[in-house]
Amino acid sequence: MASQEKITVYNLADLKNTSDDALTNYLTSLKFTQSHRLTDVRLALGYSAFLLSAACFLWDYKLGFESTKYLTAAAVAVYTILNSALTFWIFYVEKGTVYEGTSPSKSTKIKVSTKTNKNEPVYHVTVEVEDLKSKGGKKRDVLTISRPFADWFDAAGRFVAQPFQTALATGVPAIGEVDVKRVAAVTKKEEVGGAAAGYTPELLEALANAGAVGGEGDASGIDAKKGGKRRKA
């Protein structure tokens, strides 16, 4: 089970990757429709470059260098172009995008990119929200959330879903609309406790020990179902 898997809390890449995966799973569980456009283009570029070099390797191996050198020169040029296109795509188009998709009601399109800075255990999330319903020009909103990973990882390196989902649902109205319970939960807690992530050690322990999804403290029936999906994914 995903939540039982421990990661090294000092490994920023692990923290980010686990959170990225959880983010996608969470949105999928909310019936968001994921678009794989960005990944597919990246894979197409990468694999065509790889196949080209494989072909180059084969003809070089079978026919030798001298008889194929002009073909090889062309292959090197095309490979360079494909690889630069791939680099460009990753750095200027994807820009750390981990999720792209539309809401269940097809009213909004969201694009989530995340990043971390070296030696700073903070999850920076940028969400681009596009309102598909509004006519006369696209309406775009850009939201940013920056939260420490400590909010949803316990000291042992176990991921705790609830505060993570709460942070997203509260920070992004487009998600909040779909998952009202999470928003409500946090507002109440914030009113009472005043802290952004007011989770008592007892609650965290309960969550960690729970094992089964239903054990999550204030999770409603719907949440449990979502959680179950997330964990299997």
Binding site: L43, T72, A75
Partner: protein, 172 residues
């Protein structure tokens, strides 16, 4: 970490990253080949016949184009002999004629005799086409790794395995 291989796209991306590391290294090598016009632009010295200039394990950078002038006497060249797998690095000591038909004789600085014995049966001289490059640059020791790898094949397997594992298991 392994759970990151859950989605087929993510698995494909991980595999691609590993593939691209290999293919980029290969294409860089081929690019260098194309620029220098040599099938093997970097070679590792395997014998001591050019000592003290070159020792076993030294890395030589080759150039195989005749932009300014023809390959001539005094140059250290790497050549192939028909029917022999391993290229030889020796100095040209005689050249008769010009152009692709010029007759070239080589000798290792450290060898008492010229290379006539090393050539194919009935071959007295090399031609320009037998040469895969002239030595232009020198880096000591670095090539020793490849000698180690070829003498102990298990090291090669182990290294490739570790490389693959690190790349697949570790996302950037």
């Amino acid at each position: 970490m392994l759970s990151s291989l859950g989605s087929p796209r993510q698995a494909a991306a991980q595999l691609m990253n590993f593939g691209l590391i290999l293919s980029t290294a290969f294409m860089m090598w081929k690019g260098l080949s194309v620029i220098t016009d040599s099938p093997s632009p970097i070679v590792v010295v395997l014998s001591g016949s050019m000592e003290p200039a070159f020792q076993r394990g030294d890395l030589l950078l080759l150039w195989n184009r005749n932009v300014i002038e023809e390959t001539s006497v005094g140059e250290i060249v790497v050549y192939n002999v028909q029917g022999k797998d391993i290229p030889i690095v020796h100095r040209i000591i005689r050249k008769f004629g010009t152009g692709p038909e010029a007759k070239l004789l080589t000798k290792g600085d450290n060898n008492p005799a010229d290379d006539t014995e090393l050539y194919a049966a009935g071959q007295d001289y090399l031609n320009r086409k037998d040469i895969i490059g002239s030595v232009v640059g020198y880096i000591p020791f670095v090539g020793y790794v490849t000698i180690m790898l070829s003498e102990h094949p298990w090291m090669k397997t182990a290294m490739l395995g570790i490389m693959g594992l690190v790349v697949v298991l570790q996302r950037e």
